[in-house]
């Protein structure tokens, strides 16, 4: 019994030798003169949650709409499960989408909304009723069958939209800003529920979002988009800790970024002169940059230590002094804006570990900032 292969568990390799469930190859989309999506190539694996992250106008929604079939690529090809989607209309694709506005049918009850997709398949009434009941239970909306969409709260509508998109058990679910219309508390709660449901049903999720926090918690892999291009693909940790360029470093989280020039390149470390910082930055394990090359140094605010004493003698690099010009208390952490001698403002965050512990650093106090060799990210583009 166990060694018999399950119909749903067929290996992707049988269909596509490279293991990509969705293969987007050199896809471009132009609206008149405007290029919304430019030569995007992307492989998405079966069963993963892939987040397309980007600002408005970055082309992420257009890419999603091409996957659903609402837009046709100007160039390139999209294959889902090894099948070229070029000539396949939306109503024949093995894909369902959850719309940003939810697009619930306002004249239909919750039950009718969710049943709509199954009715198109011509299932029996009993089968439809059973499947609708099951999926409404999964999204915890059982008992709301007779309500109309306008009688539901935002969070409830989101669940109904999710149920409607999932009820046909699609292999691929496209989610357009699934949590954007929810308030912060509900959003956090729903994020984890989405993850649960995704694992329970084994659906491949492609999520479009402009919210990096949402992308980080939901996505197993992220694709960061800018001006219609994918600028970096990787796990949330990859993207955050090792951004590939200045756009990604700046877009994901906050960052202190300075232009500099490589003074010396040792096999395992770089020394970089940063005029703005008024100091030399020593960075470890970075892509090879020859001496003299101009680079950018990016340091995350939480990777900078703040203290009253100068760091130990002999550690002249990776330390600067300045005065605290602004403090923002956020509860779980505090943000310090420190003005360096060179005039540059540096952003430092510090978790508030203790309750009213040691004497806190105050405004206008002189402080030293320092960081570890591994903290700076050296970027060439």
């Amino acid at each position: 019994m166990n060694d018999r292969p399950q119909p749903n568990m067929r290996t992707p390799a049988a269909v596509d030798p490279d293991g990509a469930y969705v293969r987007i190859a050199n896809v471009s989309k132009k609206f008149g003169d405007f290029t919304a999506v430019a030569e995007v190539s992307l492989d998405i694996r079966r069963g993963e949650i892939f987040c397309l992250l980007g600002g408005s106008g970055s082309g992420k929604t257009t890419l999603l709409r091409m996957l659903a079939g609402f837009e046709t690529p100007s160039a390139g090809s999209i294959c889902i499960d090894g099948v070229d989607m070029r000539a396949i209309p939306p109503y024949e694709r093995p894909v369902n989408m959850m719309f940003q506005s939810y697009a619930l049918f306002p004249h239909m009850s919750v039950e009718k909304n969710v049943a709509f997709g199954l009715e198109q398949e011509g299932l029996t009434r009993d089968a439809i009723r059973r499947q609708v009941g099951e999926i409404l239970d999964i999204v915890k909306m059982g008992g709301y069958n007779a309500r109309k969409p306008h009688q539901l709260s935002g969070g409830q509508r989101q669940r109904v939209a999710l149920a409607r998109a999932l009820v046909k058990r699609p292999k691929l679910l496209l989610l357009d800003e699934p949590l954007a219309a929810l308030d912060k508390k509900l959003r956090e709660h729903t994020q984890f529920e989405l993850l649960n449901i995704q694992q329970q049903l084994g659906v491949t999720f492609i999520v479009v979002t402009h919210d990096q926090e949402e992308a980080m918690t939901l996505g197993q892999r992220l694709g960061v988009m800018n001006h219609g291009r994918i600028v970096q693909v990787g796990t949330p940790a990859d993207i955050y800790e090792s951004p590939g360029n200045r756009f990604v470093a700046d877009f994901i989280g906050s960052v202190n970024m300075f232009a500099g020039a490589v003074r010396a390149a040792a096999p395992d470390s770089l020394s970089i002169d940063c005029g703005e910082l008024g100091a030399t930055v020593r960075a470890a394990r970075t892509p090879c940059s020859a001496a003299g090359a101009s680079v950018w140094v990016a340091i995350r605010p939480e990777k900078i230590n703040i203290g009253r004493q100068a760091p130990e003698a002999g550690v002249a690099d990776n330390a600067v002094s300045g005065t605290v010009s602004e403090i923002a208390y956020m509860g779980d952490m505090s943000i310090y804006l420190v003005r360096l001698v060179s005039g540059t403002l540096l952003r430092v965050t510090l978790p508030n570990v203790m309750r009213g512990g040691e004497r806190p650093i105050l405004r206008n106090e002189s402080v030293w900032l320092s960081w570890h060799d591994s903290s700076p990210v050296v970027l060439t583009e």
Binding site: G69, E92, A103, H107, F116, Q120, P149
Partner: protein, 298 residues
């Protein structure tokens, strides 16, 4: 003080339409209603008074003979039925022609949409009477349509088009089509295109998506347009008089004949009151649907 001006201002604003309806609708209606309960006589005015003074005592005289007459002479019943039939068929034709047009305008680009709407309203710039007259020139035995068909050799003898039901339908559909298109457009234009995308995404072919999503959501527009066509079409006078049959009159023509040919004001008033009763039912239906629609919108 400010509050006082506000309420009196509000009263004034609400008062103007109320006064308007009172003077121009309710009072004339009551006069007609009162005449319908009198009898014809050769005098000025040509009907019996409502209150008769007899030896210094006033007595109310209500005659129902006008109404009784309506149901004894088959002319009236057949005219009512014919009017309802003509109005219903014309409304259906307007809906079948107007819906696709309204849909196309609602889906057109912003620039062409303005032009198309303008084209719908454009005929109103010419006199209604003139436009109906123009149809005589088109439909005549010796008219444009017959001449073109004869010239092309499609027909050998001219078709009888004028003074037929067909001519009345043409005239009413042509004249009232904008009243169908405009409310339908106003409704269809508000539809969220994402709903049709969602339907397609869930596996509905375009035609099924239209039937399941667009059509039910445009129901209020269909009702509004249909009533705007149906109600005036029932009482239509000019079009059937100029283009229609002479052996079968519409009720509007009967009404005018009673007033001006027979000078039987009581019967004419009774005819008018019965038309009103026939139309009140669809109007109330319309208002109920509109109210339900208002409640349904979040």
């Amino acid at each position: 003080m400010a509050r006082l001006t506000l309420t009196s201002g509000r009263r004034l604003v609400a008062g103007i339409p109320i006064l308007w309806l009172l003077v121009l609708f309710l009072i004339p209606f009551l006069i007609v209603f009162r005449i319908s309960f009198s009898e014809v006589r050769l005098a000025i005015p040509p009907y019996t008074p409502l209150i008769v003074w007899h030896h210094g005592r006033a007595s109310l005289e209500l005659h129902t003979s006008a109404y009784a007459f309506l149901f004894t002479d088959p002319l009236y019943i057949s005219s009512y039925l014919y009017s309802l039939k003509v109005a219903a068929v014309s409304t259906l034709c307007c809906l079948l022609i107007g819906y696709p047009m309204a849909y196309a305008i609602a889906r057109a680009g912003a620039a062409s949409r303005q032009v198309l709407l303008m084209l719908v309203v454009l005929p109103f710039w010419t006199s209604f009477l003139l436009r109906v007259y123009a149809w005589i020139g088109l439909l005549n035995n010796n008219g444009v349509i017959n001449n073109v068909l004869l010239y092309l050799g499609i027909i050998r003898h001219p078709l009888v088009l004028l003074q037929t039901d067909f001519a009345v339908y043409i005239g009413i559909v042509y004249s009232y089509l904008p009243f169908m298109i405009l409310p339908l457009y106003a409704n269809l234009e508000k539809h969220d295109p994402a709903l049709l995308e969602a339907a397609a995404d869930l596996g509905a072919r375009p035609w099924r998506a239209f039937l399941a999503i667009t059509l039910p959501q445009s129901f209020a527009g269909i009702v509004a347009g249909s009533l705007l066509v149906f109600i005036p079409a029932v009482g239509e006078y000019v079009i059937p008089t100029l283009l229609g049959r002479t052996d079968q009159l519409m009720i509007g023509r009967v009404l005018s004949d009673e007033f001006f040919e027979n000078r039987d004001w009581p019967v004419a008033s009774a005819v008018a009151i019965v038309i009103l009763l026939l139309l009140v039912i669809p109007i109330m239906l319309f208002q109920r649907i509109q109210r339900r629609e208002l409640e349904a919108t979040p």
